[in-house]
Symmetry: C2
Subunit: 435 residues, 2 copies
């Protein structure tokens, strides 16, 4: 069917999705004999996006998957040789590279705060540093989407949300966004590849172009209902919304599944639409709203008769914070804590063990991170780090469905004020101390 066309120039290895300097550092460390020193690296965020009270860890499952496949094939080695990125000794090492160390981290879907040690990589210097770019790309992106999405889900107060932002983010980032949105409680995505790759349920309605294609709105609605059944969602705002609703019920009958409103004052329109639908006997027909929604717009519609939200741009761009600003730092070398000293960007050296403590109602009261030891773990305390990779092999990695359930549970542990949409600082200050 494809006449032998090479379908994509996209390479099958993710190994070159890596900053140039990671490989030259490996090469220099191999040459000077330090490459094999035992090292601990940690990924964490120094702060949350302005005004946010918590963040959500996402991308872990995707990351572990990519790490187990992070290989330099002949094609990658040839490119590096041809462009003289590193010397022959390093090329040899890269060709044989497969991560063989240990990775621990916060469970996917977990809540995090500034300084939470979200991911800990133990191995040689070379095998840790080489993963830096991939680790940060995935965690920074996916966690940004999840952190924004969690606020939207909270604002929606149980009404279903659909992720539909593919067109407002890079084409492959779109499927990672759909996955992160599903993780935090979105019910479905518009993106078909996210359905195939990650099993996220896909859904869709119709665009204005479909109505405009037809000679009139009735024909467009009839066509859609003929194919999809009366349970479909009809987009009623191409011409006149109220006439559109009348046309929709005329074609589909009072059993029409849903209408979609995509413009105008959604709160006012939803009320008028509800009245009209009820008066036409379509009392079960749902009202789905879309059109540049973010968590604030969703919250403002809480009292309106809305049955579902479709969210695009604001979700896939992290609602003002498209990256989490996580960093990946060497914190131990041969068991000795190390840290940069420079102004404003210092961090605590030494590998951290993190525990979260809860009150009798199960709400977080504190998070502690011990350097050089382990905090006491009592009843109601949560050990935040779990083994994700052991000796290079995936260990306790949750499926997306498990991570989604875990996230929903963890959201109930947030202090109440952390769920507010108003601007504020982190709900919890992580207490980092020397054990």
């Amino acid at each position: 069917m494809t006449d032998g066309i090479a379908l994509s120039p996209r390479p099958a290895s993710s190994a070159l999705l890596t900053d140039h300097y990671e490989l030259t550092m490996v090469a220099a460390a191999l040459a000077d004999g330090n490459a094999a020193r035992n090292c601990v690296f940690e990924a964490f965020a120094r702060r949350l996006p302005e005004g946010r009270r918590y963040g959500v860890v996402a991308g872990t499952g995707r990351l572990i998957d990519e790490i187990t496949r992070f290989r330099f094939r002949d094609e990658e080695i040839d490119f590096l040789r041809e462009h003289k990125v590193v010397d022959d000794a390093a090329l040899q090492w890269l060709a044989e590279f497969a991560f063989s160390g240990d990775i621990d981290g916060y469970r996917e879907g977990e809540i995090y705060f500034p300084e939470s040690p979200i991911l800990t990589v133990r191995g040689t210097f070379a095998e840790g540093v080489i993963l830096e770019t991939l680790i940060l790309s995935i965690l920074n992106h996916d966690s940004a989407i999840a952190s924004a999405g969690a606020r939207m889900i909270g604002a929606a107060g149980g009404r279903p949300c659909i992720e539909m932002g593919s067109r407002r983010t890079a084409e492959w980032a779109a499927i990672a966004s759909a996955r992160a949105a599903y993780l935090v409680g979105f019910g479905s995505t518009s993106n078909l590849e996210a359905g195939r790759t990650f099993g996220v349920p896909t859904a869709g309605t119709a665009a204005h172009s479909f109505t405009l294609l037809h000679d009139n709105e009735l024909s467009a609605f009839r066509s859609q209902v003929d194919l999809m059944g009366a349970g479909t969602t009809l987009l009623v705002d191409t011409y006149d919304v109220m006439q559109g609703i009348r046309n929709a019920v005329k074609v589909a009958g009072p059993g029409l599944g849903a209408i979609r409103l995509d413009s105008g004052d959604l709160g006012v329109l939803a009320r008028e639409a509800r009245e009209l639908l009820d008066s036409l006997g379509a009392t079960k027909t749902r009202i789905i709203v879309t059109s540049d929604l973010d968590e604030y717009a969703i919250a403002s519609l809480a009292a309106a008769p809305v049955d579902g939200y479709g969210v695009g741009t604001s979700l896939v761009t992290g609602s003002g914070a498209p990256t989490c600003g996580m960093v990946f730092k060497l914190v131990e070398r041969d068991g000795v804590p190390v840290a940069k000293k420079a102004a404003g960007k210092g961090n605590d050296g030494g590998a951290k063990a993190a525990v979260r403590r809860h009150d009798a109602q199960g709400r977080i009261v504190e998070e502690v991170a011990a350097v050089g030891g382990r905090p006491d773990v009592g009843e109601g305390d949560l050990q935040l780090q779990v083994p994700l990779i052991r000796s290079g092999r995936p260990h306790e990695v949750a499926t997306l469905t498990e991570a989604r359930e875990y996230h929903a549970k963890q959201m109930t542990t947030l202090p109440r004020e952390a769920r507010k949409l108003t601007r504020g600082g982190p709900a919890i200050d992580v207490d980092v101390y020397q054990a």
Copy 2:
């Protein structure tokens, strides 16, 4: 070397990077007999990001490439059948689909304003609508990066800029970001895959972890210089910046290529660093600065003795505007202009032909878009749309290098005030009129 490991779950076809509803619209239109109607779709932005005076078209080359490869293979068809996304007639059509229409558009690297008809797709309804998601994903993302990057290049005033944001955006979006940055004048990228896929020059220095790996800074510098030569860039701010500079020159000699400053008050530090380097005889050693730079921070360093900027987060997130908000609208059906009428989101129906007029100095004075005809083209006028695809085959698609040169030339046509970083409205209002 890879022991037969499946290196990536990433599918070779981009056909499912598509919203669910595009395919159900195709299915419904096939069933009702409207799928083959001749249609014209246009991609355009209703507005620029807040405060911006112009935008830059990017992603065109990447898009044309993807469109020629947009195919539904057995794997994609099987997924759609299994998940009952569309009916058998539509599956049959999809399996045979290859875009056979025409696409015209602004040249890659071109400047655009609100309402500029950036991309025009002519074909049947089905073959136009099915490309919507891919077209918008690529143009919205790449143009957002290019639009932010162009302001940074302007602020840098001729000093070289390096793109190094891969860790702050999704892993595959990173290579598109690197490409868009190169398009608008960045000299290199840290991302190796962007080097392989698009031929963007790659570059890198070293991270703090490399210094921390070694027992002291001198050993780390010595290792790097041994491998890379004295022309390398040494990161001098892991401990004490001035001592770091002394160590760097001690190891590399006065012929040291560059130092990198990644923290602190960069303007003050650069001055002190310059004095110290000069006093050590390293008068040719360049000073590269990094650390959360955006166009404003770059501009504020104009008077400082800085020789190059490394830009990450702010570039790959579009400096506050991670998407351009472009939309893709059906504007003609069988030669008849069509448009949505709803509040706030209407657009002018009818395909547009766009021309830009310049003053005697070659600066833009107006852009006009005629509906249903072509504007007069006189001396000094520019026809903005060029044929990109004809009958499904790539036509006048510029290479990345050609687009980069074209962009540089076009930037000289901007009205002077459009280059200011202060907030303002679009430099030009596109005059859309009925011909």
